[in-house]
Amino acid sequence: MGDLLDRDLISNLPQSIIESILTRLPIRDAIRTSCLSTKWRYKWTTLTHLAFDEKCVTLSNDRTLVERSLIDFITRALFLHQGPVHKFQLSTSYLQSCPDIDQWILFLSRNDIKELVLELGEGEWFRVPSCLFYCKKLTRLELFRCELDPPPAFKGFLCLKSLNLHQVLVAPDAIESLISSCPLLESLALSYFDSLALNIRAPNLKYLCLEGEFKDICLENTPLLVAISVAMYMTDDIAEHFEQSSNCNFIKFLGGIPRLERLVGHIYFTKYLSIGNDQGILPITYNHLKIIELYQVSFEDMKEILVVLRLITNSPNLQELQISGSSNTLAAIEASDLDFWEKQCPSDCAFGRLKVVKMTDMSGVPHEMEFIKFLLKKSPVLETMSITPCAYVLDGRLNMLIELVSFKRASPEAEILFIQD
């Protein structure tokens, strides 16, 4: 046996390297190494990062069989495991709500869990047990299709830095207090919430991602916010709510985030911001805002155009602008308010750092063309202006081009790219 020991290439590497190797294997292969030799029998049991999915077991057409064998697999793996588990990930559509998951979370709560990702199937949503709320060391929590019900005595996850709730059923005030009770929270992502009115108080928050039907979003205390991505869906009663609202959403949402570097807005975001928008002097300048991406901006709605203008004129260091239109060409051959651009448009501004502009889904409606003209006139260092016409507009393209060619450009370096697909 002595010879064999010398020849053994790998078993005597330091445990940290072995763990580094085993962590990079799918969990099933990692556990199988216990059959290699006596030295390898328990090497996998101290892994601190466990990630399970349906690839751990043999797949077959019988869903209940797969479900059962997956549950067995995970339970046995956890039972054989020794030491702390810092990262636990379960992503499978085969499991929904079942009592075994409660057991696993209880096990994890006793083993210093720091990062928990639970992504379950479409059936009955899993109701997260209360032992989750006693995981004191939790730094990252990601839940998909679960029910969250914090106990009344819950004081918050004091170490939580990242929270991602996707299709999670939770009471609105519970969500607000959850967010505000996590003092170290840096990254927040909420998706598929219904009719949520949200006040976000998170003094350390840097990254915010919202997607769903939000009635109202107020970034009450988020001074360190650096990147935002919002996709707002509209329903009838949200629209009604908007009609009746008297707040200036622009200020409520963007009023307290001076450190913003990147803003992305989808669907009804610009419309949301346009509600209650006054054109007064904005109390805040976005000195760090470098990238703005706004989708589904309707250039027929003067209010939305005003929102865009307000945003870009208060961002002196803007470098990249991407706007995607959503106009209805049939409606707007003759647009009203075209004289706005001559008379009321802010004329003393210049986009001193703007280098790249992408206009997509352009229908060629008058306001879109005026906007492009405006940008070209006011961007002395512009390098690229690319315009992609909307797929439905076929006849108007030539007219668009003719107009484009006639626009004055402030930047000698500016290239106009008309992208046809």
């Binding site: 580094s20 190797i21 199988r32 216990s34 290699l36 006596t38 030295k39």
Partner: protein
């Protein structure tokens, strides 16, 4: 601390070098910016001022020999240049990592001792890619791992267990016996004979156990039942039940039958029943069970038959025990009987030829 601070002041024409000494005594010099890419070398140089001359060369850890050092220097030389694009780095890494497994392991070890984390990550990833998806045999071969687990231990604890108690029984019997015999081997320092693998099905084996024992040779190749063959010579074959199941594919029940020479008392793995309670007819109680996990390929009718046969076998052992034990003692086949005579609750003779005793018992010589 900038590189300028660290460098010995030299005319701009001359590069500064760091002197490194590997465990095997050879000393070489490496460009400073390249060597400084390794945290350990950097630390030695800055904190202790080592490496500035041949006499004060930095002693590298034992795991870094000359060959490894040159590989590591190659890596550092490429990566320390600032402004490399991700694509370039990836392309270099992919090419760099192509080496035989032995070197890869040594390199991982060496990089770890120099605290060069990016290289450790790269090599770990490469090793993980090697291991992924391979069978244990393949992995053992690649890394020269000793196959020193017992069959029982090899049975992966995470597979779905089969519901067939008979198969589990055989698994455990085999596993236990093998383990005991291996310990004996070590004590006695006897040679191990080669195992032969036998592809007979379970029912064959059981008939073999039950009464058609007497097979003297050639179990390995034949799949037929060997009926009523008398042992002419002393060559006895013992059978092993080896659970060879690691993978998702359905396992085959394999039987390893080492040949065994009775008179020489050569230790060979053999199967005996560990009868803990011989008075008890129930098969389940007779032996300890561990979990087997072999897929069952036997149809129900045959299963019935086999179940009955196994039960018969148990009963037979029960009833014949005192007589057998006398015969066994007389033949001096046993090395020891654990627990003394008449104590049915003890292990039956666990000599190397234990299986053969059963043969004798059952055929009644």
């Amino acid at each position: 601390m900038s590189e300028g601070d660290m460098a010995v002041i030299k005319p701009e024409m001359m590069k500064s070098y760091i002197w490194l000494q590997t465990a095997d005594g050879s000393i070489q010099q490496v460009e400073q910016e390249v060597a400084m890419f390794c945290p350990m070398i950097c630390q030695e140089n800055i904190q202790k001022g080592m490496g500035s001359s041949k006499n004060h060369a930095i002693s590298l850890p034992e795991r870094v020999n000359t060959a490894m050092l040159s590989l590591i220097i190659d890596y550092c030389r490429f990566h320390q240049v600032p402004g490399r694009s991700n694509k370039e780095c990836k392309a270099f890494d992919e090419k760099y990592i192509r080496m035989d497994t032995k070197k890869l392991c040594e390199l991982t070890s060496a990089a770890d001792s120099l605290q060069l984390k990016p290289l450790v990550d790269l090599t770990s990833r490469a090793l993980a890619r090697i291991i992924e998806g391979k069978t244990p045999e393949e992995i053992r071969e690649i890394f020269h791992l000793p196959d020193d687990l017992t069959e029982e231990e090899k049975l992966e604890p995470l597979k779905n267990s089969t519901d067939d108690p008979r198969i589990r029984l055989l698994n455990r019997l085999y596993a236990r016996k093998r383990r005991e015999l291996q310990e004996r081997e070590k004590l006695k320092n006897a040679e191990l004979e080669e195992e032969r693998s036998d592809d007979r099905s379970v029912d064959d084996l059981l008939s073999f156990i039950n009464g058609e024992i007497g097979d003297s040779k050639g179990i390995k190749t034949s799949k037929n039942k060997k009926k009523n063959r008398r042992r002419k010579d002393q060559q006895k074959n013992t059978c092993l039940y080896e659970a060879n199941e690691i993978h998702e594919e359905s396992s085959n029940l394999k039987f390893a039958c080492p040949s065994d020479e009775v008179n020489k008392f050569r230790a060979s793995p053999s199967l005996t029943l560990k009868l803990q309670d011989l008075n008890d007819d129930s098969l389940e109680d007779m032996v300890e069970f561990d979990d087997g996990d072999i897929d069952d390929e036997i149809d129900p009718a045959l299963k019935e038959k086999i179940d009955r046969e196994v039960e018969d076998f148990a009963r037979r052992l029960n009833s014949d025990w005192p007589q057998r034990i006398q015969e066994i003692l007389a033949l001096d086949m046993l090395e020891d009987i654990q627990g003394g005579n008449g104590s049915y609750k003890q292990n039956i003779p666990t000599s190397a030829n234990g299986w053969n005793n059963f043969d004798q018992m059952l055929t009644g010589f």
